[in-house]
Amino acid sequence: MTRPRVLTVYLWELRKLARQKRTYLGLGAALIVPILFVAALHFQNGSPNDVAFGRYVRESGLAVPLVLLLFGSIWLFPLITALVAGDIIAAEDHNGTLKTILTRSVDRGHVFAGKTLAAATYAALALSLTGVVAVVAGTLQSGFNPLTDLSGQPVSARRSLMLVAASFLVYLVPILAIACFGLCLSALTRNSAAAVVGTLMFALLMQLIGILPGLSGTQPYLLSTQLSAWQGFFRVPTDWLPIVRGLWVSAAYGLPALMIAYLTFLRRDVTGG
């Protein structure tokens, strides 16, 4: 008998996501937020000067996706990520379908890998959607103009676009760590709502710890801090320290969570349905 591969499970997970409303809630938010932001810029005066690149949103449309990365790190992207990562295993418990797929010829490990890849793909897709829409809408509003970096140096529009793309890639890493945490809660709680809310609370808790007096020493090692690591690209010379730290700190959060989720999924009794 031919064994299904991880790719088979992954593609079916994507098909299943494509048939669910919650998928479009997250993607809809990823799409609409940049449009609302640019619409607000268009119809109102002023700029969000208190965040990095906020003062440049009327000078270059390429500042818009960067400002949205900062705004989105508070709850938007963690929530969108949690919507699928927290649900993708627990929903099988809710529907009783875990027993349906685990009595076929597919290994549990392959099912888990397929689900993990699908949750990661969804997070990446939502982030990309925001990035593309923000670049297009921002450019229409403020033009495809050079950007001023955090060291005060002008950066050509073309190079700025490449740095924006790199920033979104680096931003994706801690988002994937949040997805791993969501998967972990999804496998442990077997309850979609608990896993989605728990993941969001975890992301918010990270931010809370960062602003608590006396705990500032922990800040470089908080997952929320890594959501700002991309700013290293906009310094001259490029500041690799936060970027590299972002990678390993995210891995330090994400991989254990993923391992716990994997072992839980592999060893659990399937009693629902």
Partner: protein, 324 residues
Amino acid sequence: MSEGAPPVEMRALSKRYGERLAVDAVDLTVQAGDVYGYLGPNGAGKTTSLRMLLGLIRPTEGVARLFGKDPQVSGARALDGVAGFVEAPCFYPYLSGRKNLELCAAYDGGGEANRRIDESLDLVDLADRAKDRVGSYSHGMKQRLGIAGALIRNPKLLVLDEPTTGLDPAGMRDMRELVRRLASEGLTVMLSSHLMSEVEELCNRVAIIRGGSILFDGALDELLKSDGESRRLRSSDQAQAAAIATRLGIANRIGDSGELELTGGDDELISRYTVELGRAGVGIIELTTGRGSLEHFFFQLTEGESEAPALPAAEPEPAVAAAR
């Protein structure tokens, strides 16, 4: 699949949830060609043992093997040639019936399984509704889709947990007919049920489980023979007829249908009994003779009636096709 290994083996299979022993050292064997009834009241441990058999839950002790392979060791490979469902079959409500089967086929490795989708949908009479979302299906349709999902694996062993639960009488009849047809094509079937008529109608071998323990495992024919000859009486006063039978030492119980079941007692005693009924003014409407019923045996075992019949040997026997 190991050559010659029986389709199902459970050896000292146990499952404990905290203090509660849900399944207690179950030993049973289903031979190739059997239609094996797994009978027990609700909560007896049937579904838990089937879940262990299919590798969905881990036994606390003991082992379950499918064609000689332990799902805890061999994973999905142990399920080669095996299909079925435990409790109600579950599908993705937002996908159509066909898409659900396509997913199942893909998870079975595609190819042959994919090609059997149409045939399976036809067999369970769901071809017309295959494009509808499963969320709009009735319980009976989901049950039938569950069977279709099992058949696309082209199994040699079909494990069905309470397949007629929740079905209307026509659905129950169709499901039993389907099981009978599949069995006649050579499929080994393990069928869990709490419906004695269903097991008596379909199965050639039976295990009775209560409180997680197997009380009986053997051929249904032997079991019924061991129950002795029984008679059924309809009279003008069943309560009085029962009292007279008890007075004469004839084991009796009033069955679900209201008939008085009389077991034991030779012809001479029964003759005396009818005379006594006449003297007491109890009119005999109908008195029929038959072999023992599974229902009678089941209640004696599971409700601990005083006169439990002598059990036939619980050793598994070679396949018998008597039930088909």
